[in-house]
Symmetry: C2
Subunit: 400 residues, 2 copies
């Protein structure tokens, strides 16, 4: 099996880290000047590697192997969360670049725009898979600045070319490498994770409407306390979910807001943001029923309850053959130091797996930290991961 | 009994409403230009009524009857909450003015600075009672602007004169009238409330420290979710308080904040603001024990819990003789349309009652609304209340 050039790989990753550098991490939100610079830098790197590179109408950087034959698509994303880590996304892209250079042919590389969702969910990979409408592009805007996606693309200089679409006949499949973003590999002294499936999720924003009142003069019996209604709802989740959840299910009340949120005022409104994730669609469905039951019960209380947002995604199973190829390669380079595991976080692979077989490889996150500038992975784990990734790719291409 | 001049009373209240007018209410935060104007306007009114008026070193407006003999002190406050009601405070002060004019002698009037707590709790009435130290004045600052109390007093032109102190031998006692700030009188078709006691309270700010983590990749078993710890704590209050509380106890979780408060992040911190009120010290103590028990249980969980603020006040019983005088007067002018009731809100009377006997009279709040510009009371209820107040004052002074 061909050996990757670990120094070349790390040198490129270090170079990418300089673009939008923030402390030990990177601040490179989608279509910021730093992100645009990173996309052009990557396109040049892909060209240098012998690929035909382009940046398309949604900002996807795409490098095509000009040689004939079926290809393996590799990639991830170049933009980051705000003040976040240097490897989240970039590592998977540069792995693709390094494998393309190492194998010499058979590899296309994609850097999918906005996996981090500054404008919306999986804009780039959905565009590539034909799952993003022009209408959605019309209505998306930056979650922080409010700038429309159309304006952002125009200002970035990406609005001219058409959007690239996947040619499913061209591809044997899609491989993506990523940092784990959790501490499970580290906790178990493992160096590689082979993803079995990417979790699906259900996401809710739920509002309780009560009646705002003076906290000293309003008797308990006549109160419509939206905060209490919310607390009882969340306590209900914590009470009932464990019995229905699978062993890997996770659920999180990420935010709570009381209105007006003053010491001496009975809250007239309350809002919570809640989500749960699992790889098993049946578990997601059963948990959804728990939520619906709690909503029904809450509606019988003194406050009005309304679901102001309900969304989510379906679980994505990774291709068993790709899992086997990654496993075999992992066992060769790090015997006993790898495990199959689900991905609790979302990735572009969950979109592209809807079109072609897909596989994912995880390397350990030090301390499990991600979405923070302190995110890191040991250099030797980065290099090992790329070699394992490269061997698996070669094996998959060989099988045809 | 002498009759008040209802038109003169309403004319003065309408005039005060113009100072800092906001929609149908008033925006007159403590030591704002509008508040300063209102204090000078009141001082002139008190002089006009034959009292010796002054504004002292804490901003209290004080009108002294120059005639000999024991006096009855009356008052309330002129500043308002932000964008709040026109009667909350001002009505009690103008009642004092009107009673002083009607009786011709025997009445001193005080407008206590900052009852609404823009700088701190009961600054003006505590100063008058000798319960506010120079050190506290040094360290108080505006809860919104951060301007120090010293600077605010200087800018208002109030820092020159000394602070007036109560002469307890001078006073037969203190009477305060106020809007109810609740809907109990209205709900029971009553026109007057005679306050039996002002509730005491316990106030807490409680912080939970967990560990911030990725909501997709962090297993439930290793989480330290500060939001869940907080929700369980509040649910515990709702579960246990009813068994220990008195029939009139009120308790309120007024605010909840999760840190960082993002959909996909396990909260690393959580804070709540909680209070409860009752007129019975034994009930307050028993409820405090419930909170301490819940804190102990929370500390056994995965998160650290700390009480970052713990404060409160003791209940203040109103003088039985003053209650009887108000009741007799109420029965004369509105037979069967009055009731004894506790005050769930705090008032300057709770401070001054520590020095001299005190009584309070409530008039109905339309729809129970207060701390909002829509706060209102029917003109005929305002006039009735002042006549009842005046008769009670005359009766108390007569008894000597």
């Amino acid at each position: 099996m061909p050996a990757i050039d670990g120094n070349r790989l790390l040198k490129d990753l270090y170079a990418a880290r300089e673009i939008g550098k923030y402390k030990t991490g990177v601040h490179r939100p989608t279509f910021s000047p730093q992100d645009i610079e990173a996309r052009h830098w990557l396109a040049a790197k892909l060209t240098e590697a012998g690929l035909e590179s382009s940046i398309d109408g949604i900002g996807n950087v795409y490098g095509r192997d000009p040689t004939p034959g079926r290809k393996l698509l590799m990639g991830s994303h170049m933009e980051t969360q705000n003040h976040a880590g240097w490897l989240d996304g970039a590592m998977g892209v540069i792995y693709g670049l390094e494998v393309a250079r190492t194998l010499g042919h058979g590899i296309d590389v994609g850097s999918w725009a906005d996996e981090e969702g500054h404008f919306g969910p999986f804009i780039g990979s959905r565009s590539f898979c034909g799952l993003l409408t022009e209408h959605e592009i019309d209505v998306c805007s930056n979650r922080e600045t409010g700038v429309s996606l159309r304006d952002a693309l125009r200002q970035a200089g990406f609005s001219g070319p058409p959007r690239q679409k996947i040619d499913t006949a061209r591809y044997r499949g899609y491989l993506e490498a990523h940092i784990e973003q959790g501490a499970e590999l580290e906790d178990h002294h493992l160096r590689l994770g082979i993803v079995t499936a990417i979790v699906g999720s259900r996401r809710y924003r739920i509002h309780f409407k009560g009646q705002q009142n003076h906290a000293g003069t309003t008797r308990m019996s006549v109160r419509k306390d939206a905060g209490v209604a919310l607390v009882k709802f969340v306590a209900g989740i914590e009470e009932r979910f464990p019995a229905v959840a699978g062993p890997r299910t996770v659920w999180t009340t990420g935010d709570i807001k009381l209105e007006p949120g003053a010491a001496s005022v009975v809250p007239g409104g309350a809002e919570l943001v809640f989500q749960f994730r699992d790889t098993d669609p049946a578990v997601l469905e059963a948990l959804e029923k728990v939520i619906d039951g709690l909503l029904e019960e809450a509606a019988k209380g003194p406050c009005e309850v309304s679901v102001t947002y309900r969304g989510g995604s379906t679980p994505s199973a990774m291709d068993p053959g790709f899992q086997a190829a990654l496993q075999e390669s992992a066992q060769r380079h790090a015997p006993g130091l790898h495990q199959p595991m689900p991905s609790g976080a979302g990735h572009d692979a969950q979109i592209i797996s809807q079109m072609v077989p897909a596989g994912m490889l995880f390397v350990p996150s030090i301390g499990g930290i991600s979405h923070h500038y302190a995110e890191n992975t040991r250099d030797e784990d980065i290099v090992l991961g790329c070699q394992v990734f490269c061997d698996a790719a070669a094996a998959i291409l060989e099988k045809g």
